[in-house]
């Protein structure tokens, strides 16, 4: 870039930097505000005195959560579903993307599978039929109900398939000439060169599993089986359906006065921590992932 030294351009630069600083502040404000509330004194938080710095710093909320077995049970369910769910997603993505990346000249039937996948991606029976299917299979209140309905991440399969396709053809041919079978070629040749792309889709799987609450809500009838997001949704966000029937504004105000903001804030912060931990990795890979999605032959 050529540097402009005119006064007009300099002041524009300053304006842009200031604008971006304000935008960043707005992006971060709700999160920092919640952090401050979680460390504040209950009375100060409920009176709305806390902005970006805790008032009456204390760790009471976090101490209460540490003794809250239900919270940690839910946390555990979430961790389990992330581990199992992301593993299944990734395993299926890899073993499905590889044969699909072969041209139909080599793998007859490839196009039929492809249409099947796209059909499943576009059409769905909707909420009620899925709910009935899961119930019919007696998967309610098991981890499988959170993991199996979304086991095949079709969009990721297509992304990785496109990635495999763009690898040099010699890679596959050389492996075959050397006597490697299809599984060996996939795991010994294709996987090692696609690690960044696989990392991208895996991270997205992890975030997806960690963040989803709705499947936990409809498939788990016992609160002790809720994953963390569902647990938080029920305790912090949800309004009791009995109360919802003839609700007035006064009810809603009373409800918000009664809620314990510092404790809720602390719960929200703890639920965010796993994401913040993997965020540096996410940031490293997601731009790559978006480029991956847009590069096509």
């Amino acid at each position: 870039m050529v540097k402009s030294t005119t006064l007009f351009s300099k002041s524009t630069d300053v304006t842009i930097v200031v604008l971006l600083a304000i935008i960043s502040f707005i992006s971060l404000f709700p999160l920092v505000h919640t952090l401050a509330i979680s460390f504040s004194e209950k009375s100060a938080a409920n009176a709305g005195d806390v902005l970006l710095w805790p008032k009456g710093f204390n760790l009471t909320s976090y101490r209460i959560i540490l003794e809250d077995h239900k919270f940690f049970a839910a946390f555990r369910v979430s961790v389990e579903r992330v581990l199992l769910g992301a593993f299944i997603n990734m395993a299926l993505t890899v073993i499905m993307a590889y044969p699909l990346s072969k041209p139909s000249r080599i793998f007859p039937g490839r196009d039929i599978y492809m249409w099947y996948l796209v059909f499943c991606m576009l059409f769905s029976g909707g909420l009620i039929p899925l709910y009935m299917t899961v119930t019919e299979l007696h998967l309610q209140n098991t981890l499988w109900s959170l993991v199996l309905p979304g086991a095949v991440p079709i969009f990721n399969v297509i992304l990785i398939m496109n990635f495999f396709r763009n690898l040099p053809k010699e890679l596959d041919e050389a492996a075959v000439v050397d006597g490697a079978g299809p599984w060996q070629t996939l795991f010994k040749v294709f996987l090692p060169v696609s690690l960044p792309s696989l990392a991208t889709v895996t991270l997205f799987s992890i975030v997806g599993h960690w963040n989803s609450f709705f499947d936990g809500l409809i498939f788990m009838s016992k609160p002790e089986n809720y994953p963390l997001q569902t647990y938080i949704q029920q305790l912090v966000v949800r309004i009791d359906p009995e109360l919802m029937k003839g609700m007035t504004t006064d009810d809603l105000i009373r409800l918000s006065k009664a809620s314990d903001r510092t404790l809720n804030g602390a719960k929200l912060i703890i639920a965010m921590i796993p994401l913040l931990v993997i965020y540096p990795f996410l940031q490293k890979y997601f731009v790559h992932g978006i480029v991956l999605g847009s590069v096509k032959e």
């Binding site: 505000h33 499943c120 309004i239």
Partner: protein
Amino acid sequence: MRNRSFIVNYHLMLLPGIILLFIFSIIPMFGIVIAFQDFIPGIRIWEQDWIGLENFKFMMDIPDSKQVFINTIVIATSKIVVGTFVPIIFALLLHEVRVSWFKRFVQTIVYLPHFMSWVILAGIMVSMLSLDGVMNMIFKLFGFEPVMFLASNTWFRPIVVGSDVWKEFGFSAIVYLAALTGINPSLYEAAEIDGANRFRKLIHITLPGITPTIVLLVTLSLGNVLNAGFDQIFNLYNPLVYSSGDIIDTYVYRMGLIENQYGLATAVGLLKSVVAIILIMISYKLASKYANYRIF
């Protein structure tokens, strides 16, 4: 070279996924027949009473459904419009920054909300938007009366659209930033030799440079006209704002799983999917025709 065993193994690799999709995607698709039944939970699906289009007729008769449809379209369209402009403006601003650490710093911050769930964000918003929350603190500072934001039909839609844009603008800007870096730098150099200032370069080089990307993304977003964002609204709404904020997806959930009107809920959901698929197909058709876009 490749013998039969290769092909057999290819089929084997696809088998588990195909079976899982069959169970959790194809079988539920047969469940849409519930839309044509007077479905009573507890009785086998093939033993239910068939009532033809009764559910659809009933849906047209109740006043709720018209309001729900309007809410969905208004919220989704506003999200598309605002959610297109803001990321473009942000990307243009960020592109002008030459200090790379500042650029990275801003990016790190604005991408973060994208990865947070609506449960967490709704929890934060409920506290911020309450009577003693930060928003009302700011309102009082400027001398306005405090507002119960999440109970107000005037405020609910702006809040939904605003918070969605707040969450996603940074992430949506990534595509535009990529398009901006793709513009040939020699164009700018040529323009400078011709004496173009910053503003003229923006109008004549930068904007035309990213127009194809903008057109493509707007076309593809057509498929989202019926997606007003279930997760977000489900976690923010309450009965007081049904008239401005209840959308098709939340309505289907309440009718179906709370009130046990499986037939009606499935009918509404089916109608939505049919329209959505037509919209998606039109948008992909347009995108592939005018922007050479292919998904696979």
